[in-house]
Assembly symmetry: D3
Homo-oligomer: 332 residues x 6
Amino acid sequence: MARPVTLFTGQWADLPIEVLCKKAVEFGFDGLELACWGDHFEVDKALSDDSYCAKKRDLLERHDLKLYAISAHLVGQAVCDRIDARHKAILPDYIYGDGDSDAVNQRAIEEMKNTARAAQKIGVEVVNGFTGSRIWPVVYDFPPIPQEMYDEGYKNFADSWNPILDVFQECGIKFALEVHPGEIAFDIYSAEKALQVLDNREEFGFNFDPSHLIWQGIDPVEFIRYFPERIYHAHMKDASVTLNGRTGILSSHLRFGDPRRGWDFRSVGRGGVRFEEIIRALNSINYQGPLSIEWEDSGMDRDHGAREACQFVKNVDFAPSSVAFDAAFEKP
Amino acid sequence: MARPVTLFTGQWADLPIEVLCKKAVEFGFDGLELACWGDHFEVDKALSDDSYCAKKRDLLERHDLKLYAISAHLVGQAVCDRIDARHKAILPDYIYGDGDSDAVNQRAIEEMKNTARAAQKIGVEVVNGFTGSRIWPVVYDFPPIPQEMYDEGYKNFADSWNPILDVFQECGIKFALEVHPGEIAFDIYSAEKALQVLDNREEFGFNFDPSHLIWQGIDPVEFIRYFPERIYHAHMKDASVTLNGRTGILSSHLRFGDPRRGWDFRSVGRGGVRFEEIIRALNSINYQGPLSIEWEDSGMDRDHGAREACQFVKNVDFAPSSVAFDAAFEKP
Amino acid sequence: MARPVTLFTGQWADLPIEVLCKKAVEFGFDGLELACWGDHFEVDKALSDDSYCAKKRDLLERHDLKLYAISAHLVGQAVCDRIDARHKAILPDYIYGDGDSDAVNQRAIEEMKNTARAAQKIGVEVVNGFTGSRIWPVVYDFPPIPQEMYDEGYKNFADSWNPILDVFQECGIKFALEVHPGEIAFDIYSAEKALQVLDNREEFGFNFDPSHLIWQGIDPVEFIRYFPERIYHAHMKDASVTLNGRTGILSSHLRFGDPRRGWDFRSVGRGGVRFEEIIRALNSINYQGPLSIEWEDSGMDRDHGAREACQFVKNVDFAPSSVAFDAAFEKP
Amino acid sequence: MARPVTLFTGQWADLPIEVLCKKAVEFGFDGLELACWGDHFEVDKALSDDSYCAKKRDLLERHDLKLYAISAHLVGQAVCDRIDARHKAILPDYIYGDGDSDAVNQRAIEEMKNTARAAQKIGVEVVNGFTGSRIWPVVYDFPPIPQEMYDEGYKNFADSWNPILDVFQECGIKFALEVHPGEIAFDIYSAEKALQVLDNREEFGFNFDPSHLIWQGIDPVEFIRYFPERIYHAHMKDASVTLNGRTGILSSHLRFGDPRRGWDFRSVGRGGVRFEEIIRALNSINYQGPLSIEWEDSGMDRDHGAREACQFVKNVDFAPSSVAFDAAFEKP
Amino acid sequence: MARPVTLFTGQWADLPIEVLCKKAVEFGFDGLELACWGDHFEVDKALSDDSYCAKKRDLLERHDLKLYAISAHLVGQAVCDRIDARHKAILPDYIYGDGDSDAVNQRAIEEMKNTARAAQKIGVEVVNGFTGSRIWPVVYDFPPIPQEMYDEGYKNFADSWNPILDVFQECGIKFALEVHPGEIAFDIYSAEKALQVLDNREEFGFNFDPSHLIWQGIDPVEFIRYFPERIYHAHMKDASVTLNGRTGILSSHLRFGDPRRGWDFRSVGRGGVRFEEIIRALNSINYQGPLSIEWEDSGMDRDHGAREACQFVKNVDFAPSSVAFDAAFEKP
Amino acid sequence: MARPVTLFTGQWADLPIEVLCKKAVEFGFDGLELACWGDHFEVDKALSDDSYCAKKRDLLERHDLKLYAISAHLVGQAVCDRIDARHKAILPDYIYGDGDSDAVNQRAIEEMKNTARAAQKIGVEVVNGFTGSRIWPVVYDFPPIPQEMYDEGYKNFADSWNPILDVFQECGIKFALEVHPGEIAFDIYSAEKALQVLDNREEFGFNFDPSHLIWQGIDPVEFIRYFPERIYHAHMKDASVTLNGRTGILSSHLRFGDPRRGWDFRSVGRGGVRFEEIIRALNSINYQGPLSIEWEDSGMDRDHGAREACQFVKNVDFAPSSVAFDAAFEKP
C-alpha cells in the first residue's frame, strides 16, 4: 500500500482554495496540506465560526481530497524572531500590529496556541511550521560569540514554545518543525539540541524536508535515522547544488532563480535528492503519514511541475517487503 | 625569487609584540602583518605619539622582520554592523563607548580614517580588514527579503566606506577587505557587487584568503582570476570540509574545534586548500606582495603549527618561468 | 529485435508453479527460468516420470511463457562445499540424507549429472547454478594460507565437476556458473582460474549476474569483455552499495535488509548497476540468450517489484545498429 | 509552451526525404532540420528551379512537419580545410571537381553563398554547418607551432567566411557553426577567438551541440552562458565518456562503435549529457528555437533510437516559471 | 608533546630481538611492541624464568627503547577458530599439540591467561591480539545462515574469552583486539556486538588499525568516534585500494603483493589512510598511548620502509591546541 | 637499490653541455640523457670525428654523471610526418634542406640509422625518440576517414622504420618511442597497433612517459602492465588536468602556460601523476633502467624545478621487498 501524496498549498496561496482543489485533483493528488494563510485555512475563523471547519472538510471531500496536516510556517516564524520589515509582509495584520518585536512575538505565541485548537477542530493530528530563532543571525561565529549567547537563544526558544506545546498536548496535536535555515533547528545537531532544551517532549517533532538539508551537505537519510521517533510529517521537495567554482553555497545575496547562486530549489525529481533512499528510510522507521509535495522551482511553470512531481512521487514510493528472501530458498 | 612569508599577529594578540617577534624569527618568518589590537599596532598611539611608529619599525628591524601591511579587522567590523554584545569584547573602549549602534558605527568610521593615516606614518601601503554588513544576518532569504533591503545594505556600505576611502586615497593607502562571512562581501558575486557600489574606486580591493572560500564551494583560484587587479594582499590560511552525512556546512551553532562541525580551519598544508594552484594563480596575475600566514587550528598546538606552516609555504612558493620551453627545441 | 525477458523462479519457490505462471504473465514476462526446487522443476521426477517434462512444457505454453534455462543453485552448492547445518535447509532429503559431508558431496554430483539429463529432456540448453567451494571459507588470507591449500581447492573443484561436465557434454548442455561469493569463482581472476583448471572445457561457462560484482568493486562490463565466449546466460539483478563511513562492505554478520549493511540487493533499476552499459556489452559479444530477472529486494513488495523490473528491463534493452553512420554522410 | 522537437536528417540521407517524413511523423517529431545533401535539400536545384522550394514546403506541410533550419555541414567543411581524399566522399561532384585544394575551397565559398540564398528562398532564418579549418591538424602543439601559424589559420577563416557572411547579411540569414573538432572553433576559447576575428559580426553564431563538448571536459551549460547572444540553433545529441584506464580520449584511430574508444556518441538520454541543466540554461538565455535531435549511436538500431530520443526530449523540455515564489508567501 | 612511535615486531620475527633492537634504534623508533612469538617475547619463559622479563627490559633499556604493549595475535586466533592446517604453522608446539580443535582452543585459552600474567610481570598494561571466530567462515550469507548460527558464534566468543578476561582483570591488564577480518569483530557493527555479548566489560577494547578498515569502505575516524572509550592501543598501518574495474575487493584468492588484488597493504604514508584525520581523532578522544607501526608492504624493502614510516608518523603526529582562538581577538 | 635519476637535456639545449653538466651535478642528478640537438650530442660529428664520443664520455665522467640513453626526438619526428614550416625550426639544415617533404623524410631515415651507429659508438643501448605520423592530423574522424587511410598511415610507418630498425638491430640498439600525440602511437591501442605492423620486432619499444597519458584519461600504470616487455626507458614528467567547465582537453589552440588550457605540463611532483604507483609498476615488470626527468613547467623557474624534481624522484623511488610477509608470522 503506497502512501497518499498531498500538495502543500503554501506556494499557491494566491489562488482561492476552490480553484486549487480543482487543480490538485487534475494533477493527480490524493490530498492537500493546507497553509494557514491566504483563504486556505484561517485560524481565527476556524475558532470563531463553528461552521468553518465543516465547510472546509466538505469542500475537500467533494473533490475527494484528504487532509492530514495544516501548516503554520509564517506565524511560527514570528514566535522567536526579532521582528523587522520582512515579517510585515508575511503576517496577518492582527498579529503584526504596530510591529513592536516583543509584542509581535507574544501575539504569535497566542496564535500558535489557537492553531493547535483549530487543528483539533478540523481533525488533523499534525501542525507543520517554523519556530523562528534569536540566534540564526549569528550563524557564522564572528564576531566571536560567547557560548551564553547560544544558550540564551535556545532558552528563548524553550521559553516561548513550551506554553504553546502545552496547548498542543491538551489538544492531542503534534507540532512538526520543518528543519530549515532561519529556524532554531536547521541541521542534525541543532535539531538534537532543540529537542534537548525541550526535554524531548513528545509534542515536538519534525516535518522532514530533504531540500533544506542537501545543500548543507547533510544526507537526508541520516536525518531520518537520527530521529526515527520524531518524523511527524514529510515534505517531498528537491534542490540542486550548482557549485561551479565561482558560485558559493551562501549564494551571494542573490534571489532564488538566479543562475549565479550555489544552490536552488528544483521541481521534485529534477534536483539532487535521492528519493529512492528516502522512501527506504521512511519505510525502515515505519513512517505512515502522507508524502506532501512542497513544489518550488523558479525555473519551471508551476502547473507543469506539480503534475509531473505528483507522478514522480507515486512512482518512487513503494511498499516494504513482507517476504524473507532467504526463506524462499528453503524447502517448502 | 620567492615571496616573503609573514605572520599575521591577530591570533597571537595575547602575547606582547616583543615576545612574538622572537618566536616569528625562530619559526622562520620573514616579516609580520601587525594586528591593530593588543599592543601590536595601536592606531591612537601611532597618531598621538610621534615616536611610536619609529619604535615599532626599530623593533622589527632588530629582529630582521619586514612589515608590509597592518590589519584592522575588529574596528572595520564595527563600521557597518548593527552593534551588539559581541562587539564589546573586540573593540577598544574608546570605540565601543556606551554601545549605541549608530554612535559606534560613527566612531569606527573615524578610527578607520585614522588607521589609514597611521599606515602612512609607519610606511605600509595596505591596510587589511573587515567591513561589517547590515545584510549579513539575512543571508538566507526567509522571511522573504525585498530586493530593496539588499540594496539598502549595499548603500549603507558605500555611504559608510566612501568617506573612509577618501582618506585612504589622500594617504596613498589601499584597503584590502578580507572576503569573509559576516562582511559585505563573502563570496565572488557579493564581492563584485561591493566593487560596483563603490564605482570600482581603486582604494578598495581584497585581502585574498582561501580558507573562507573553500567551505562555501568556491574555488580560490577563480577568485584570483575574477579580480586580477584587486588582490592587494594574500593570506595563507587553510580549512577542511568535514561533511560526513551528519555534519552540515552551517555547523549547527557549534564552536570551532567541535568535530560535529561541517568544516573547520586547519594549520596551513593540513586542510583542503590547494596552495600549489594558488601560487600559480598569484604568479599569473603578477602578485608581488607577501604571503601572510593567518594561523588558526583548534586542534593543534600554535607554536608547532606556525613553524611547520612557515616551512610549508616556503616550499610551495616558487618563481615563475623565464624560459619559453618550445624555444628549447629549436636550433641554437 | 529485443531479447526475451524471463523471471528466475528461485525467489518464488514458496508459490506453486501454476500460481507463479499467472503472476509472471500479468507482470509482463516472456518466459521463466525454472528453479530446480519447490515444485518448479524436480529433477528426480523429470527422470522417473516420462510425462513430467511434457506437462511442464504444456503448462508454460498455455501461459505463453518461454523456457530457456533451468537452475540448480542449491544442489550445485553441495558439490564442493564442506556440508554443515545450513545445507540441510536447502537440500532435498534424498541429497542431504544423514548429512555426512563426503556422502552429500557425492550425491550432489550424481544429482547434477541427472540435472543435465533432465535439461536435455525438457529441451533447454543451459543449466545455471552454483559449484560450492572448499576454499571460500579462507577467502581472507589469515592465518596465512599455503599456496597448496588454494591449489587443492581448485583441484577438488575440477575433480568433482569434470565427471558432471562429462554428462553435460554427452547431453549437449552447458553449465553456467553464477559467479558469486561462496563459489569457486566469485570475481574475474577466480573465474579465470576456474576455467584454467578445467582446461577451458566448453561445457563450463558463466551465468553473468552484475549484482554480485558491483559491491566487490568489479565493473560488470569488464566481466563480459573478459569472457566474451563464456557468457551462457544473463541475470538482471541489481544491488546498491551503501557505504557511509560506518557500514562495511563485509556487512557485519547482518541480514539482508538491515540498513547497517555496506551493500544490499535492490529491485532492478533501483540500485547501482548501469544496465545501459551491460546491454551494450552483451550486444558487442553478440549474446543471444534471455535477460532473466532475479528479483530480490528486502525493502520492497515482491509483486510490485517484479512488475516494474520487467518493464525496466524491456525499456533498457535494445537492438544493435545495422547502419554505419559515417556512410550516411556520403553521397548516395 | 514547450519547444518544437525536430529531427536533423543528416544521418538519414540514405533515405529519400519522402520516406523519412513518414518515419519522422511516426516517431513523434514536430519538424525536420533538412541536410543539404542526399535529396533532402539541394541548393543548386533550389536556386535553378523556382518550384523546388515550394514543393519541399508542400511535402513537409502534408506531413504536418515544421522547418526551422537547413544544414550545410559538408560543403562548409570544404571552405577552410586543405582538401584531400576524405572530402571527395562527402562533396557533390560540382564542388569537388578535380580536387585541387584552392579551387575546391573557392567553389565551396560560392556554394555557401548560394546556400544563404536558398535558405531565404525556402524561408528559414538559420543555416547550420561547419567551417573547416587550416589549423585543426596542428591541434597538438608539436612540432612547436609559431603563434603566426595560428594567426594565419584564423585569418584564413575570416578571409574565407567574410564574403560568405556578407551574402548571409543581404539575405537576412544567420550562419550557426556547430562547434566541433575539425572546425575553426571546437571549444569555448577557440569559439571566442573565431568571433573576435570576425569582429563579432551578427551573421555568425553557433549551433549548440553538447555531444562535442562533454568528452573534451567542457560543461555545455558554460558554453551557453559564455555566448548567450550567439546560440542560433540547438542540437540535442548525446555522448558518453568511456575512459577506463586503458582507453584514451583521443581514441586510438579507432572507428565510432569500437569499445576500445575513450568516448562515443550515444542515443539521446543514454549518454552523459545532463539535458535538464541544458534546458534551464536555454531558458535563462531565452532561446526560442527548436530542439533538433541529431541522432547517432553506433550501438543502437536507428529507428528504435530516434523514437525514444524524441520522447525523451519532449519529457525533459519545460516552460519557465511565471510566478515569483516568495510572493506566494505574502498576504493576498 | 608528540606520542612515542613504536615498532610492532611481528613482521620481523625472523630476526633475533637483539638484532631488531639495533635496527629499530637506527630507524628512529622510540620503542617496541613485542610480538609473543619468535624470541621476542616468550610467555612460557616469562612465567617459568623469574629473570626473563628483567633481561628483556634490560635489553630494551640499553637501546633506549620503551615498551608499552605486547602482542599475542597468533595464540589469540586459536581461541575461537576451528583449528586446521593453517594454525599448525603459526602456533607453538605446546599449544598446537595433536591439532584436535577443541583441545587446541582450550590450550589457547590457558595460554592467553598466562599472557596476561606475563604482561603484568614485564610491566605493560595492554596485550594486543586476535580472538579467532567460529562464524568468520560464513561471513557471506549463503547458504542462508539461521540467526542462531550467528548467535552461537558470538556466544562461543563470550564463553571462551570471559574466563581469559577474568585473569586480565585480576592482573590489571587490558586486552586490545585488533579488529580484523577473521576475528569475531572485523568492522564497526561486529565490534559493537562483541562488546555487547561481553556486557561491555572494561578489560576488552580495541587495538585500532586503520589498514583493515579502509578497504572495507569504513572510515577509520568513525571507528575512533564510535568507541572513544575503548581505543586501548593504536597501530599505524597503511593500505591501498587498487580497484580498477577488473580487480575485486575480495582479491580472488591471490597472495598479498599480486597486482591483480583489489587492495593491499602499503608502507605507512604510501597508501590511502588519511593519518592527519586519525591523529586529530585520537587527540579528540585523548588517546595517550603509543603510535605503533605495523609495517607490511609486499612491494618495498623492509628496512627502507620502516625508516621512512617512522619519520612519516613523527611528522604527522602533533599536540592538540591549548589556546582558544576566539580569545585571541579579544581585548587583553 | 634505488635507480639512477638522470636529466633529459632537451629542455636545456640553449645551454652548452658543459654548463649543464655543472648544473645537473649541483641539482643532484646521477646522469644525463643527452638530446641529439644543440651541442649535447651531434650525430654527424660522432660518426665523422673519432674522438667526439670519447670527449663526451670524458666530460660526463669528470662530473661523475652516467649516460644510459641518447634522444633523437626531432629528427625522428621528420621520418613519417608530412613536412611543413614547423619542422624547419627543429631540424638541422642538412636534414631540412629545401624542405621537400619526401626528401626530408628520406634524409631523416638516414640520420636515424646514423643515430643508431652513433649510439653504439658512445656505448648506450637505447635511443629515445619520436616517429612522426601520416595520420595524426586526422586523429578526429571527420570528414569520415576510410579505414584504408588509417591502414596506409601504419604502413608508411612500418615501411619507413623497418630499414632504420634493421640498423638498430645490427648495432644492438633499441629504439624507444616516446608515446605522445603527433606520433604513430599516442595511447595504448595505437601503441599496440604500431607493434603489430612491425611484427613485434624487438628493436622497437617505448620510452614510458606518464605526462602524455594522464590528460588523455589513460592510467600510466595500465600502460606499463600492457607492455611489460617493451618499456625500454622511462621519463619522469608530470602534467595537470585543469578542466573547470570552460577549459577543454584539446586546449583551444593556446600555448603551454596559458591558464585557459585544459591541461598543462607540471614540474615533477606538482601535477596529477601518481609516481608511487608508477614505481610499483616498474618494479613489478623489473624495469632496471634510469628514471629520467624531462622537466617542463611553463609556470616555474627551470633551475628551481629541476632541483626539487630530482629530490622528489629520489624520495619516491624504492627497492622491492625481498621478504614474504606471511612467513614472518610462522614459527622460526
